[in-house]
Assembly symmetry: C2
Homo-oligomer: 150 residues x 2
């Protein structure tokens, strides 16, 4: 159902932008489509590459501006796994919540989710004096392919 989810997100995002008073624009629609298509944990460069590949004239600045807007509206999640590059992924409100495991050898990023981990974090939130609004967990290691190669 991944593609169904992506479709949902695209529609929801377009609608949310309109509701928030933003004009529709070809560039932004292309960025949104690219995010839906590329899936989890993507970079601005990956979006730019995909769009250029299909002959789009969307500039890098517009990609960053779209990502920034979507992030501020909570429509994408921005994070990073320690590479010095921002990563993004579609955020379905109330949708799935996952974290990432990174292969330090080849850079592959994969999602995972864990109920016990979430429970531990929620327990923690009540014990700190910060008002916690979000959390990120990143595991670092070596992926199966790289392990086999060594």
């Amino acid at each position: 159902m991944a593609s169904q989810t992506a479709t949902d997100w695209t529609a929801h995002t377009t609608e949310a932008l309109a509701k928030a008073g933003y004009r529709s624009s070809a560039a932004r629609e292309e960025v949104i489509a690219a995010i839906a298509e590329l899936g989890c944990s993507i970079t601005a460069r990956e979006i730019a590459d995909l769009l250029r590949e299909r002959g789009s004239g969307v500039g890098l600045a517009s990609i960053y501006r779209a990502l920034d807007l979507l992030d501020r509206l909570g429509l994408v999640q921005r994070f990073d796994v320690g590479e010095g590059v921002a990563r993004y992924e579609a955020a379905l409100p109330g949708g799935d919540h996952h974290h990432h495991v990174v292969c330090d050898s080849c850079g592959t990023v994969e999602p995972f989710e864990d109920e016990e981990l979430e429970r531990a974090i929620h327990g923690l939130e009540s014990r700190t004096d910060f008002a916690i609004s979000a959390h990120d967990v990143t595991l670092h290691g070596e992926c199966p392919s790289c392990r086999a190669r060594d």
Copy 2:
């Protein structure tokens, strides 16, 4: 015991570098001293500022080179909390293990530790096909001062 720990780390680090065959050097010693002094979650710029302030002639490049070396030897931990800036802190082998909570309003970074969280992560490690070697957890929210100010 924080200062004692810092002293331990400084001595251990100097010794580990020597054992690994690296020459002693004034620049590196100054960087190591700065890390011990500045404590948890510091940036290269903060080290540079401290060293410049005390009249040191150590260049930024040497700071980055020292941090890179120490990171590769596991003597410092490198991480980031989503600002696009690398942060570092002394890593005592087998020593304390903590994570960070960031105030998204003022940028304050504070450490925390939680046994249940660690348990959840370790449980997870055995269920993934990656060979996990490290993990980072970052909580985002608003610190008490910023909450009061709003």
